[in-house]
Amino acid sequence: MFGTRNGKNNNKATKPKETIKRIWNYLQEEKKPIIVVIIMVVLSTIISVLSPVLILIAIDEFIAQGQLQSLETLLILLAIVYFLTSLLNYLSGFLMVSVSERALYKLRRDLFNHLEKLSLKFFDKNKKGDLMSRFTNDITVISETLSDVVIQVINSVLILIGVGIIMFIINPLLALTTIITVPLFFFIVLKIGERVGRYYKDRQDVLGSLNAYAEERISGIEVVKSHGKEDESIEKFMVHNSRLKEASIRAQLYSSLIMPTNIAIGNITSILLISVGALLTINGKATVGSILAFLTYSKMFNRPVTQLATIYSSIQSAIAGAERIYDIIDHPIEVTDAKDAISINKIKGDVEFKNVNFGYLKEELVLKNFNLKVKSGEQIALVGPTGAGKTTIINLLSRFYDLNSGVITIDGKDISKIKIADLRKTTGIVLQDTHLFKGTVFDNIRYSKLDATLEEVIEACEKSQAHSFIRRLPDGYYSEVEEEGSNFSQGQRQLISIARAILADHEILILDEATSNVDTRTEIAIQKGMKKLMEGKTSFVIAHRLSTIEKSDKIIVINNGEIVESGKHAHLIDQKGFYYNLYKSQFDN
């Protein structure tokens, strides 16, 4: 469903009505300000439509007749009217900004909230960059449209009607002269607008592929350089670059056409008006003042025409953006609490997998008829070659995914019947890929237990061997962690995430290659802390280095999604089977 982002019809809305209705719902929650805005826009439009009439009277009635007194009174009135228009325009814009920004806030909130609830399956399938771009690009497109649309549409339509009526009242012949160019004008602007939209989209696509290319070659620069392929990189870049140049010229060209077209059409209308007006005046069928008024009106009349034509295309892309956002919000949450989900609080830690079948894609089974019984307090090691299904087992235990068939129980209770939050609170995971958040080291460690004191945090860090390096940081526990922990080494990140798990004090503990990125000496130290942590707890340990799991209560050897052997280290070595060979290959030199 999300794979079509680069498809050709990216900017075409598929169900515009529904989407507009949903966005309108966000706006509707602010009924009062919107009504006020509408009233103000109507008022200011009416006033601004009427003001040229005042000018007409000023010239034809007062200046031409030499009535200075009345002229001055009228001009004062005109000044007040102008002032009011500007004030109303400002106030309506002022109010509308809050309305639309609040709507955007809610849209972002709903999108984020839904994302947090989606299951890992969704994140496996969708790329981070694509999801990111919905937060940034798509919402920006909507925001650019949202704040203008309401005011501009009302304003444009009212001006068209109002000015039209007044023009016909003042002088039907001149009115016809003005309006005659409108269809042509509208058509041209609409066509140009469509092209601009299309060419910008083209340009965006080309820019996207240049971007992707540059990213790949720059982030892989060491490969490019170490193979001496800089020239080839540059050559290919130039192909993208010249395509971008052509697309940009086209986009620039058409988008800059709008202004001169406006001016040109304005001029044509003016010339027409003057010509017809002059002839009419000589024949006594028009006045100089009315020509002047019509010159103003023709400009007033043309502006909303342009506006409506351009709004049309921006609404189109805003709706397309909104649809992409609703794609996510409408995505069903796959892993949810069962209706009759039970709460669990303290558990013993018995775990059982009964006839479990599972695949990330339904048809490709990763675990096949998997059975495993673990007693509370046991330390289980999961061993096997890359891709055997070890990580999958622990993914299922935390219910990151639902099973194809079979049951997993904790203390005899089916985990799909337990509240997800309760389930995950009993199981602590330390992953191979550690993730730190922007914030202080302190905050990152107590992420698992928000009310932990500094003493508790330090205690956990001492156990995980993180204390000594944290202590040496410039600001100790209050040192800042940058985005994605980029200012810490992989090993340090892992120590922090181990401390996090220690602090959380779960009944069941899962360590997925938790010490793969620390050097051997540190690892030995961590092992000691881990041992203390695992005392009396059910634990699952995945490790490539078999030396770290020799003392486990039970070693489960997995290959191709099935258990091939299990038992204690000594027992498995005696068996001279799969485990024995794995072990031998690591130490036999």
């Binding site: 001496g228 140049k245 000589i282 985005e483």
Partner: protein
């Protein structure tokens, strides 16, 4: 400003267009300037004097002038967009070239994301500014000056109104920009914060879920989200102010003209048609001033981009070739370090490498062993001349590495990194990246040595399967094996493997090691590792400790003579196997 002006040199190849575009604009502007006067004449003399011939002549004149104007306008857009986008494309090209010529030293301080933003966004901004410049640089001043001139011609008295209204307008614009600017800086920050929050949650979704912190994250996001809304509202409210204020100025000026002009017309010192024309010129002047201030604002913002571009251009390329670099097709593979000292940042504590000396004969199998931070990777980087030593020399085949052409080094020394980068292309093309002449047989052979053949064959399209952007469709271990296969296919005389097998399980690693040993005989291979089991059966093991060579030899000699080696061995192996 200086940075921006420097970039205008990119317009040089497009001189013709750069000059024609503004010239054509002048044509458009002059026509625009003449129209109101002609209109006034029609009203004053044609209608006033009841002279149809005069009217017709002038209408024909107006039509011809506007056609000339339209042609000028369109032409200038055409040439301006060609000139500006061509210049932008050239800047982009030079930037990418420059990035490719930078050394690893430079890349330590640059982030990929940043570089890409500069190549795409910043250059686009500059392109837009050039376009804007070509179109407005002459237009705005000519309109303003021309309109003022025409206005004075019509009525010097009325023109006094301009004297009054223009300064007030300028001050108002200045105040609004001044007030709004800080808010817009804040909006950028708030947008960044929202993006960071989203990115973090997307990246760490497993952590969030496993600690059941969804609600906490939602709460946290709500704060940055709300903050963004508040800041946005404040900033945009200034923007909303601009149009009404501008309109107020134009309208009030119109009222003033009608008042003063009306009085004059009543006395008879001014014709009614002239009032009309004057109002036109006045509107021209004021809108041009607004345009100019917007152009100035855009240009000011673009200076940040120009500065960023300039920063890349002015980076020093610190790995330089000699004037007559030595080009060698195939080197033999002897590597020697003589008293090499190195540091990444001079003046920052101890050197990373101190007094490194060793000689490696061609065809040797060498292990660089040491714990994190001992300098293993740095030694390898110096062999490939990613950096230059601060003192001492690195020799290859008894010739100073600095005497070779960079290309010779890159074609002869292969490095396989722990972080494997692959390109979005087929698996096959990825493997033959370093050797375009590689046959299918060579490719399969390389893949087999790297233990990649089996998993490649399991993929739907085998060797023709596509690697996605960022290789997201491959596991860490698969990526490492492909990047190893790529280096094997390239057939480098010197091969450096930097912890290349860290994501593989021990068994696969061992298989790779054995087949590597068998298949590549006369190559010098350096293996960087902290696992003693990986190093143990190498011909030569160089033990590094804290930036110094602590021992060189094979396993037997080191275990006897080198206490550090012995202790590593004991901590990693002896205890477990015995």
């Amino acid at each position: 400003m200086k940075a921006l002006l420097q970039l205008t040199k990119y317009l040089k190849p497009y001189k013709k267009w750069t000059i024609i575009a503004p010239l054509l604009i002048i044509l458009e502007v002059i026509m625009d300037l003449l129209l109101p006067t002609i209109m006034a004449n029609i009203v004053n003399y044609g209608i006033g004097g009841n002279d149809p011939t005069y009217i017709i002549i002038n209408i024909v004149l107006m039509i011809s002038l506007s056609i000339v104007g339209i042609v000028g306008g369109l032409g200038s857009i055409y040439y301006a967009s060609i000139a500006s986008e061509s210049a932008a494309a050239d800047i982009r090209k030079d930037l990418f070239k420059k990035i490719n010529s930078l050394s690893f030293f430079n890349f330590n301080t640059l982030k990929t994301g940043q570089l890409i933003t500069i190549v795409t966004n910043d250059v686009s901004i500059i392109g837009n500014v050039i376009m804007l410049g070509l179109r407005f640089v002459l237009r705005v001043p000519i309109i303003i000056i021309g309109s003022i001139f025409m206005a004075i011609m019509i009525s010097p008295t009325l023109s006094l109104i301009l004297l009054f209204i223009i300064p007030i307008l300028l001050i108002t614009i200045y105040v609004i920009i001044k007030k709004a600017f800080p808010y817009f800086e804040k909006t950028q920050k708030s947008v960044d914060k929202v993006n960071t929050a989203v990115r973090e949650n997307l990246g760490g979704i497993r952590v969030v879920k496993s600690f059941v912190m969804e609600d906490y994250e939602i709460e946290k996001f709500d704060q940055v989200n709300k903050n963004m809304m508040d800041v946005m509202i404040k900033a945009i409210r200034y923007l909303v102010l601009a149009m009404p204020v501008m309109m107020l100025f134009i309208n009030i000026a119109t009222v003033l003209v009608l008042w003063v002009g009306g009085k004059m017309a009543i006395i008879g010192t001014l014709k009614i048609g002239s009032i009309m024309a004057f109002i036109q010129y006045l509107t021209n002047i004021l809108t041009s001033i607004l345009m100019a201030s917007m152009a100035i604002a855009v240009t000011t913002r673009s200076m940040v981009s120009a500065k960023r571009i300039d920063k890349i251009f002015s980076l020093k390329e610190d790995i330089k070739e000699n004037e007559n670099p030595l080009v060698v097709k195939k080197i033999k593979g002897k590597v020697e370090f003589q008293n090499v000292d190195f540091t990444y940042q001079e003046g920052m504590g101890d050197n990373v490498l101190r007094n490194i000396n060793f000689v490696i004969e061609p065809g040797s199998n060498v292990a660089l062993l040491g714990s994190t931070g001992s300098g293993k990777t740095t030694v390898a980087s110096l062999i490939a001349r990613f950096y230059d030593p601060i003192s001492g020399v690195v020799l290859i085949d008894d010739i100073n590495i600095k005497d070779y052409s960079i290309k010779t080094l890159r074609k002869n020394i292969g490095v396989v990194f722990q972080q494997a980068s692959l390109f979005s292309d087929t698996i096959k093309n990825n493997i033959k990246y370093g050797n375009e002449l590689a046959t299918d047989k060579d490719i399969i052979k390389a893949a087999k040595i790297a233990e990649a053949h089996d998993f490649i064959m399991k993929r739907p399209n085998g060797y023709d399967d596509l690697v996605e952007q960022g290789a997201t469709n491959l596991s860490g271990g698969q990526k490492q094996r492909l990047s190893l296969a790529r280096a094997i296919a390239a057939d480098f005389p010197i091969l450096i493997l930097d912890d290349t097998t860290s994501a593989l399980d021990m068994e696969t690693e061992k298989k790779i090691k054995n087949s590597l040993k068998k298949s590549i005989k006369n190559k010098t291979v350096f293996t960087i590792t902290q696992r003693i089991t990986t190093a143990i059966d190498s011909d030569i093991i160089i033990v590094l400790e804290d930036g110094e060579v602590s021992g060189i030899g094979n396993h037997e000699s080191l275990i006897k003579n080198n206490p550090i080696y012995k202790s590593i061995y004991q901590s990693q192996v002896a205890k477990e196997v015995v």
